[in-house]
Structures are given as structure tokens and as C-alpha cells.
Amino acid sequence: MAENTIVLLDHEHTVVYDGQKPVFDTKNKNPELFTALAVPLKYIHSFSFKIANTLSDDELAMKAELRMYKEGGLDVQKEYRIDFIKYELDHEYLIEAFALSLDDFNRYIADFSYKIDVVDFTFPRFLAYEALYKTEETKKSNDLYIYISDDEAFGAIYQNGKYIGHRIINSLNAISKRTGLELVKLKEYLKEKGFKRENYGLEETLILDTIVEVFSKDIEKIVYSVNHKRGLFGLSGIDTVLIDFEGHSLEGIEDFFSPYGFEPVIKPLTQHTEQATPSLSVLLEYVFGLHNGADFYQVNLTHLERKKPLFEYVGFRYLVETLVITVFLALLGIFVSYYLNAQHNKLVILEGKVKKQKKKIEKLSLRFKKIKKQNDQLLKVKKELEDKIFVYDTTFRVIPMIGQISIKRQKMMNDVLKVLKKYRLSASSIFQKDEKSFEILLISQSDRRGDISKFMHDLIELGYKNVMTKDITYEDGVYKSKIYISVKEVG
């Protein structure tokens, strides 16, 4: 089934319409399609008021609801569905608000021969005639639609193809009750004879008079409404009166308008789609057009709105957002935990390695200490041995040196004696401490005292570093001089 197809609900049947051909059924087989229902005006409360044109649609909706309860006669104990049509005047809006109570709605659909779960669009019938204005040419007309059916009747005023007002009049049932005529008979009179006095026999004059009396009052009310709309919308007059009465006209109805200065063209509403009646065709075209984007006035008073799919709710989106973020965070958490776990494992491995290394180091350190101790002992032994070797070495070096000492001592003695002999000096004492130092107390005549210094000089010449005298005494013509001789220099 095409998406743009609609279903119109009626008491006995449903009409599925795809813009081409209406299909009738006794059951509501396509609840998924856009479903509409025209509610009789007797169930609908309406109230008009003017308001500043500075308000937004939301604010207007709120105001409309308040005014409907306060001034429109709504029962605060009941639940209503309220909607409105907004007309833009010069500096304000004219709001025509409508309300349908839940009770009335349920009461109306209770008579239907099939179960209704969803009604997408519930509307007053008088709005449907806008669907008849399909060209700009047709819109250049001010029209009055007079709908007459068994249970409902009204006059709907259209200015340039747009609805501007309506007036409820007596339905056929109501007229039947007032005139005492059977409904079937009444319909027959109206369809066949209309309001033409010449169509009625003499015995039917009373019947006609009664019908005319009711009708003239209804037309008066309609004309009153038209005149009221003149002031509001600048309505110039009524060009055409269209009779929506099961495809029939009402002969002689023009006579009701002439007293008010109206001379409209009177036409029956005859256009129909396939086997649908003109009334039904208008409803089908209106709902189909509206569902497919036509810019018609609309008032939706349904109490069985189609529940949106869950995913279209903002709450569902919050849920999805929460879930997506939670999943994302959970994944992030898993990733972070995984990474942390990997890091922890690495840490454990490293700790194991460090522990192992420490043990190894400890073991090696112990081994090192042991080896070091062994080496220290060896070094100690080595040192002791080297010391001993050194002692032996020294001993072996010293032994020949001691052997040489006597030679050195003898040489020193010989040197001293040789120089002593050279200068024929005498000595009173000789002290040779060792091979390095020598003391001699020289004696010389005063005239030969110079030889003492020569003696010393010669010894120096022989290589003795230190030859010196500390005290020289002269006694009895003899010089006594103590000479110190040493191999090394004395500091």
C-alpha cells in the first residue's frame, strides 16, 4: 500500500483512498495508514476570540486552551482535545478554537461497526470543502456550502477558497421532529419538490409552510454569520451557494436569500470520485490532500493519536545516547583495564627479574667475598714470602758488603798514613770508628804547622768529602790539631 494512501472512517465502513480510487471495506484492515474521522458538529465546542498578534503558536495554543475553559463553556472535569484556526487581521489574530471531549469522541466512535485503535486526524466536516479549490481561478469566489444530512447540517462560508466561518442549522432529523414528517418523506419532499410552492398540492401547503419556516430561520442565521464575517474579513457577498445534500439541489432555496439582498448562483454539490458520494468525495480529497502536504486549514481533535514509534521519542534518544556513551565508556574502561593489566604484568615480570638479579648479585657478592678473602690470604702469603725473599736478598747483598768493609777500612787507614808520611807529620792518637769515619790528633812543630792544612787538602784530593779540624792547640812549641775525616759530607 502506498505511503500516501489514507483511510477515512465511517459508521458502517472504511474507505481507503490512494488519490485515484476509493476502496470500501467493512473492517479497519489498515491501521498503519493515515486514518481520519469527520466528527459531527454537535460534539464540537467552538469559541472565537481576538488576541494580540505578537504571540507564538505555542503561546496561542496555551491561551486558546485557557479561554476555552474560561469562556468557551468547557467542563473542567472533562478531558478535551483543543485546536484552533488562526486568522490574521490587521493588528491581531482572530482565533477560532475547537474542542472535543474524550467522552463525546468515545461516544461517537462507539457506534462504529469495527474496532478503532488509532485516529490520526479528527476534524469538523466544514473544513473539507477547501479541497474543492484546486485552481487559482476557483479561489476567486466567495461561497456558501449548505450541508444537510440526517444528523448534521450547517452552512460553511468560504472566502477565496479559505474557510472563514460556519453556522449549525437544523438537521433532517431535527426538522422531521419539528414538522412531524417522517425523515424519509421529508427527504423525498426536499429532493423532489424543494421549496417551490407550485410543486406542492393544496393538501401539502401546511407541510411546506412548516419546512419553510424552519429553513428560513436557518438561512437567516447563516446570513447573519455572513454579515458578521463581512466586518471581520471584508467579505463582499456570496457568489455561489453549493448544496451538499446527497447530490441533490433544493429547488427554490434562492428565495430564502433574496430578502437579504443576496442573489447567489445555487448549485448542488455533484462532483464525486468513483462510487463515492459527493460528500464523501470531498472528505476523501481533503484528508488525502492534507496528508500529502496541501496547505489546508486543519483542526485535529483526535483522542486516539497514533503512538509514535519509540525511537522517535526524545526520551528514547536519551536512552540511546546513554547506552552508546555507556558502551563507549565500558569499552574505554576495558581498554584501560587491559592496558593497566598489561602494565601490571610487566611490572610483575620486572619485579621477578629484579629479585632474580638481586639474588644473583647477592650470590656473586658472596662468591666475590670468598674469592677476595682467598686472594687476600694469597696476597698475605705472597707478601710474607716477598718479605722473606727481600730479607734473604738483603742478606745476600749485605754479606759481600761486610766483606768489603775491611778493605775500605784498610784503604782509609793507608790513605791517612800515606799523607801523614808525605808531610812527615806525627800523630798522638788515631781513632777509626769504622770504614767511613776517622779521627786523628796531629802534632807538628810550629814552623811546620802549614803541613796540617796540606794534610787535610791532600785527603780531600783523595776523595774524602769531609776533612775538618775543630780545635788546634799550641803547647810547648808544638801544635796539636784534631782532624775529622769522613767519607761522606757532614751536613
Binding site: 565508556l329 584501560v336 629484579v354 781513632f431
Partner: protein, 204 residues
């Protein structure tokens, strides 16, 4: 039930709805951060520091150094053992060498032989021995050598004889040293002289 809640939300004004859209991630992220991420990041940081410290510990050259030291020490031990062996051989050689030098072992017999020789020489050189004093010393000298004994000799004789006598004394095969030689020359009599003979030797 859920649909009713959704309907309630649907009736909220658009500003509140947008606010909730923004608040949901903020709240979830905040909860996530404070309940999980914050402590996890702390733990991560602590683990990282621990890992760095452990890695640093592992990278320390201690093990390598100790191993290298052990290797070096082992080589040194081998070297030292060889050196000790060589030293022992050398020491053994020195001991043997020292043992072969019999003159280093001062005994009563060797001293009496020395004294006999000294007296013989004094007779031969015309030196009159006036006194001989023997002192036991046993004082460390150099190396293994000790000053074992000291003999003080007082004598008189002609100067040249005295010197000749001294030379004969110094010709001894024993390790001796003549010191503190005093010669007093007198015009009227033969010169007096004294000297010390120091005997060096080793312990047997």
C-alpha cells in the same frame, strides 16, 4: 510505562531537552572519571614509576661489575698462586744458598778457632795481647743477619805490626767487621791499641 515516561519528557521545553542531551554525556563522563578513570590513572602512574625504577635497577651494571671483578680476581688468584710458587722456590733456593754458607753460623767452635788464629797471628806479628773480652749480642742487623758476638781486643805493639795484625784478623773467613779502632801513639813505649771485632751470622 516507558512510553509514559517518554511522553513526559516529550512535554518538556526544548531548552530543557537540549540541556539533558548535554548533561547525559557530562554526567556519565564525570562518573566514569571519578569512579574509575581517576584511580586507574593514579594506579597507572604509580605502576609507571615502579616500572621505571625497576628498569633502572635492572640496567644498573652491578651484576656485570661483580662478574667482571670475580673474573679479574680469579685471574689475580692464578697469578698470585704462580707468584707464590715462584717465591717459594726462590725462598727455598735462598735458604739452601744461605745454608751452604757455613761461615754464617757462629758457634763456640768457630769462635774458639777464631781466637786461636788471633793469638797465633799476634805471636806472628809481634803484638802483645793484653785483653780479650767476648760479648754475646744476638741483635738484629740487616736482613737475616744478626750481630751475634763482639770481641774487644786490647793490645800493644809496633804501629805497623799492629796494622798487619789487624789485616790478618780481617782475613778471617767469618763475617766480621772491625770497628772503634783506637791507637794511642807513645814516644816512650809501643803504641797501645784496641778494637772491636763484630761477628755477624744467622740463626741455625
Amino acid at each position: 510505562m516507558l512510553r509514559d515516561k517518554f511522553e513526559e519528557i516529550e512535554n518538556l521545553d526544548s531548552r530543557t531537552k537540549t540541556g539533558i542531551y548535554i548533561a547525559i554525556p557530562l554526567v556519565l563522563f564525570t562518573l566514569f572519571y571519578f569512579l574509575f578513570l581517576s584511580s586507574t590513572l593514579d594506579e597507572f602512574d604509580t605502576n609507571r614509576k615502579k616500572t621505571d625504577a625497576l628498569q633502572k635497577e635492572l640496567n644498573k651494571p652491578t651484576l656485570r661489575l661483580v662478574s667482571a671483578k670475580i673474573v679479574r680476581l680469579k685471574k689475580e688468584i692464578v697469578k698470585n698462586k704462580t707468584a707464590i710458587e715462584q717465591d717459594r722456590e726462590q725462598l727455598h733456593f735462598f735458604q739452601h744458598k744461605l745454608d751452604s754458607k757455613s761461615f754464617l753460623f757462629i758457634s763456640k767452635k768457630s769462635i774458639s778457632l777464631f781466637l786461636d788464629k788471633l793469638l797465633d797471628n799476634s805471636l806472628n806479628k809481634g803484638v802483645l795481647i793484653q785483653a780479650i773480652t767476648l760479648h754475646n749480642e744476638n741483635k738484629p742487623y740487616i736482613g737475616n743477619l744478626k750481630l751475634k758476638k763482639v770481641i774487644d781486643v786490647n793490645a800493644s805493639g809496633r804501629f805497623l805490626n799492629e796494622l798487619s795484625f789487624l789485616r790478618s784478623v780481617e782475613k778471617s773467613t767469618m763475617l766480621i767487621k772491625v770497628e772503634n779502632l783506637h791507637i794511642f801513639l807513645q814516644e816512650t813505649d809501643k803504641p797501645l791499641f784496641s778494637f772491636e771485632v763484630k761477628f755477624y751470622g744467622v740463626e741455625k
